[in-house]
């Protein structure tokens, strides 16, 4: 059809609106394809790695070595392997945990370099190597023995290399892992002997009972309670959610935008459409013609977006595999996501625009030639509003705001989406800040936490005694895991406060806010718990809820803890201390330094700032497009009014103020809506991410972040307004003179 020639001309004439829509689709398809392909690939890689290298189901420490491994393996249909680890403290006080290589469980994978073949060879995790300027073929001296670094490696139980399985932030500057042969580790020194186990049948409880018969189980960590193993799942699943929700939200926004732009186009061209009808063109032909606009926009946007997204898969995957110590086994471009990325814009845009076009073309040729039906319909809000008490400028602005409700809705929705995107970075940082401050500064007043590899007795000269054990409880018919700490009644090194900020004493049973929120448990309720180490069951009655997000932790007096668990009186397993203590390494399971955690968090701040910056740029682009397009629609709709105002003698500034400035109210409304929405969304995302984890991340958003984001949104608004001011100036006064309205 010859009228198709109009498409290119119209798109070029109103290029800002169409290019804006195309950019939104590009962003949407780019996010969809890159995130979904990369995160699915990362999950696939992780699963393959776990299967191929035989990830443990649990690891544990017992007081006395197990001598009948083969018998136990047969009896319980499982794989059990004895392992050893030595924490080597470097000159810079960083800890390199050297693990013995394994034959059956948690086998290492070489990321680059060569596997261990001979004596005095070591494989090291890449992040630690980078942080300490170590490279393959370098020499590393450990306890006077020179080891040759033959490669970088990863083990399935240290995908996220944390010093303690309860830590949340890694810090390659202070901690790393390495693997040497079984023979070499014995030469390095006395370390910790622990066991990794993988069950073929669901009989772990029986195995634990058996172990406890003639041995003392010091520690039992299921893989899901081990942050070194489970953190990555939550993170990748969070990425998958972001990759699905965000592009769809942007596509919905684009749909509204295109629908409004197209309905304006149809209104503008109603005379042409009416004439074409009158000349004998069929409705089908015209629908087909106008559908070409969303088809062209979707096609350009989806192809460009999918190509860019596909190019981003590898870098994104590298970021994931390098942040987590995960071997990159394969990169598959899942055709399903490529196809979906290509067709999603069509699936969203075509039906919506079809409805808009179809509705416009229902009018008769005569009606169309007269400019369409209800050209300037007075909507019910306009009719009902009584604005007599306002001055003229206010009245004009209010009328302008409510004149086109879809346009106002687009502005509010678009700004809210852009603001949410902007705030997501700030909310993540503020939540992490709060969690770190809450956990490591406000609650834990000690600097060092020592965990022994066997029960200790008596009094301590320095520090405070503590004990711990992991427990299971059936809540809402689901097995949930808890840690119970037995704390000295007069503890000064742990500081818990209630919701009114009053300090809670340790003569009570206290649960964290994480538990209270997650399982809806309040003070006075009873929780039945089962000790995972000795399977002893007892009830705890909750006395207080502490404003703490340190995880699923129950605090109770140490004496009561020992009594309830059947542990010897006066026994303990941990010492908390402000100062460093001189405890032989072979007596300890772990030594945790608070400063390590704070350093770890500070290390994370830089990439987090980059992430916030990246997201802010995207939010800025989306905000700019939406505000610019809506403002240009306002100008287009007000062309005759602007022309009229010029004739009446209004000055430039007065016209800007009357016609354009009312949009700021919509921008502010959009922003205000986004604040509670982002807190709820981030809280849901965190809940989803930490569902299977032993921590809760509270969603927080600081006033400073709200203000900074607001300033960015207002700057976006101002830029878009100033870009549009030129359009206002271009409108000729003569336009008004022969304009037929009403």
């Amino acid at each position: 059809m010859v009228i198709n020639k109009m498409i290119k001309r119209t798109i070029f004439e109103y290029k800002a609106q169409y290019i804006g829509s195309i950019i939104l689709i590009i962003i949407s398809c780019m996010l969809y394809s890159s995130f979904n392909i990369a995160m699915t690939d990362a999950l696939d890689n992780l699963n393959i790695f776990r299967i191929n290298n035989n990830l443990e189901d649990a690891s544990f420490i017992v007081q006395n070595p197990i001598t009948n491994i083969n018998d136990l393996e047969k009896k319980y249909d499982m794989t059990l392997e004895e392992r050893k680890s030595v924490d080597y403290i470097n000159d810079d006080q960083s800890v390199l945990r050297i693990l013995s290589s394994t034959d059956n469980i948690d086998k290492y994978a070489v990321i680059s370099g060569q596997p261990l073949t001979g004596e005095n060879e070591i494989l090291i995790d890449k992040a630690y190597a980078s942080a300490h300027s170590l490279a393959i073929n370098n020499e590393l001296k450990i306890n006077n023995t020179a080891f040759k670094i033959v490669g970088y490696m990863s083990t399935p139980d240290y995908v996220y290399p944390l010093k303690s399985e309860n830590d949340i932030l890694k810090n390659p500057r202070s901690f790393g892992v390495a693997v040497v042969s079984k023979k070499d580790i014995n030469a390095i020194g006395n370390g910790i002997t622990f066991y990794s186990v993988k069950f073929n049948t669901n009989n772990s409880s029986e195995f634990i009972s058996d172990l406890s018969l003639d041995n003392i189980l010091i520690q039992w960590i299921n893989k899901k309670d081990n942050n070194r193993i489970s953190f990555i799942d939550s993170d990748l699943n969070g990425g998958v959610v972001v990759g699905k929700v965000l592009p769809i939200a942007i596509l919905i926004l684009t749909c509204v935008l295109i629908a409004i732009v197209l309905s304006r186009l149809l209104k503008r061209e109603s005379l042409v459409i009416g004439t074409l009808y009158a000349m004998g063109h069929t409705k089908k032909e015209l629908v087909r013609h106008y559908l070409k606009y969303p088809i062209i926009i979707s096609m350009i946007g989806s192809i460009v977006g999918t190509v860019i997204g596909s190019l981003l898969v590898k870098p994104l995957l590298s970021v994931v595999t390098e942040y987590y110590n995960l071997p990159l086994l394969s990169v598959d471009f899942d055709i399903k996501y490529i196809i979906l990325s290509l067709i999603l814009p069509f699936l969203f845009l075509i039906p919506v625009t079809y409805l808009v076009i179809n509705r416009s073309l229902e009018l008769s040729p005569l009606q169309l030639m007269r400019g369409g039906k209800n050209k300037t319909k007075v909507n019910f809000i306009e009719r009902k509003l009584n604005l007599n008490r306002f001055n003229f400028k206010t009245k004009f602005k209010i009328r302008e705001l409510i004149r086109s409700l879809p346009r106002a809705a687009l502005m509010v929705f678009g700004v809210a989406l852009a603001s949410m995107l902007l705030l997501i970075g700030f909310a993540t940082k503020d939540s992490m800040d709060y969690m770190v401050t809450n956990s490591y500064s406000d609650i834990y007043k000690y600097n060092y936490e020592y965990t022994f590899n066997s029960l200790q007795f008596g009094e301590v000269a320095t520090g405070e005694k503590r004990s711990l054990s992991s427990f299971a409880s059936k809540i809402n018919n689901k097995d949930e895991d808890f840690i119970i700490y037995g704390v000295q009644k007069d503890s000064k090194l742990i500081n818990l406060v209630d919701k009114n900020n009053n300090v809670i004493g340790f003569d009570k049973v206290i649960i964290t806010k994480s538990i209270s929120d997650r399982y809806n448990i309040s003070a006075g309720q009873s929780i039945k718990v089962k000790n995972k180490l000795n399977l002893k069951e007892f009830n705890v009655i909750v006395d207080e809820i502490a404003t703490a997000y340190t995880g699923n932790i129950i605090y109770m007096p140490l004496g009561e803890f020992n009594l309830s668990n059947g542990y010897p009186e006066n026994s303990y397993l941990q010492i908390d201390s402000v100062d460093q203590l001189n405890i032989p390494a072979d007596q300890l399971i772990s030594e945790v330094t608070k400063q390590d955690m704070i350093d770890g968090y500070n290390t994370l701040l830089m990439p987090m700032r980059v992430m916030i910056g990246g997201i802010a740029v995207m939010a800025f682009i989306i905000g700019l497009i939406v505000i610019y397009v809506v403002t240009s629609l306002v100008i287009e709709e007000n062309k005759a009014n602007i022309s009229m105002l010029k004739i009446l003698g209004y000055k430039k500034k007065e016209i800007y103020s009357l016609v354009l400035s009312s949009n700021i109210i919509l921008v502010i409304i959009g922003y205000i809506i986004s604040v509670p929405l982002i807190i709820v969304s981030v809280a849901s995302l965190f809940n989803l991410m930490t569902e299977a984890m032993n921590i809760t991340i509270p969603a927080k958003l600081n006033i400073s972040s709200i203000l900074i984001s607001f300033v960015i949104i207002i700057i976006t608004y101002e830029i878009s307004e100033s870009l549009n001011k030129r359009k206002v100036m271009k409108i000729s006064m003569a336009d008004s003179l022969k304009e037929k309205r009403e």
Binding site: K395, R399, I647, L648, L737, R741
Partner: protein, 232 residues
């Protein structure tokens, strides 16, 4: 003398095509006069009105209004000139669709130094009872009444009417012309009406006929008729 135009020339150029809209046009009008500019389409009457109203500029010549040559005014001063001295009435009323009748008049009153009372002006154009209606809810004649109220609320020296009855039925058109003549008399406003309807010229003191950008006749009408008495 309120308006004095000397040798006004205006050419519109579109690509390689140029169109002489006004060729050495000269005319004068006195304060309080009612003038009608007559001419067929393309004769230059709208161009002339636009130039007098300060919404277009001539290529050469002078347009002196109330002693000031508006040709020499910069954009800001020309804006002030339109704001303070000129009222416009258009063929299609050009009301702001999402403002009520009252608010449409307020558009002009808002920037006027000493506007006439809003209720008084709406009363005088017979629109008091419809003041809260939107343009869409008014007939063409009623909309033009609102447009007249908007034009005169700021008490302009000059009222420029571009085919004010062109979109109206016979009776409404006569009512509007009646109203314009009343304004002319009541406020001593100089009125210029452009039209292609010969009959309307009977209500004017001065009749200027334009053809192809040139004044073909400039007549002082001694036999002014009231709007009620004219027929077409």
């Amino acid at each position: 003398m309120l308006i004095e135009i000397r040798n006004a020339t205006k050419t519109y150029k579109t690509g390689e095509i140029s169109l002489d809209a006004l060729k050495n046009v000269s005319l004068t009008m006195n304060e309080g006069e009612m003038g009608v500019i007559l001419g067929p389409s393309g004769s230059g009457k709208s161009t002339l009105l636009n130039i007098i109203g300060g919404i277009d500029r001539i290529d050469s010549g002078n347009v002196i209004v109330d002693g000031v040559d508006i040709v020499g005014l910069n954009d800001n001063k020309l804006t002030l000139y339109r704001r303070n001295s000129v009222g416009f009435i258009f063929q299609f009323y050009n009301l702001v669709p999402n403002l009520t009748a009252y608010e449409n008049v307020e558009v002009a009153a808002n920037i006027s130094k000493n506007p006439i009372d809003m209720d008084e002006i709406l009363e005088s154009v017979g629109m008091s009872e419809f003041k809260n209606r939107f343009p869409r809810e008014l007939s063409g004649g009623q909309q033009q009444r609102v447009a007249i109220a908007r034009a005169i609320v700021k008490k302009p020296k000059l009222l420029l009417c571009d085919e004010p009855t062109g979109a109206l039925d016979y009776n409404s058109a006569k009512e509007i012309l009646q109203l314009i003549t009343e304004v002319n008399k009541k406020f001593a406003t100089t009125v210029i009406i452009i039209t292609h309807n010969n009959a309307i010229s009977s209500i004017a003191n001065r009749i200027i006929k334009l053809r192809s950008g040139e004044i073909s006749e400039n007549i002082v009408n001694e036999k002014v008729l009231s709007a009620e008495r004219i027929e077409w």
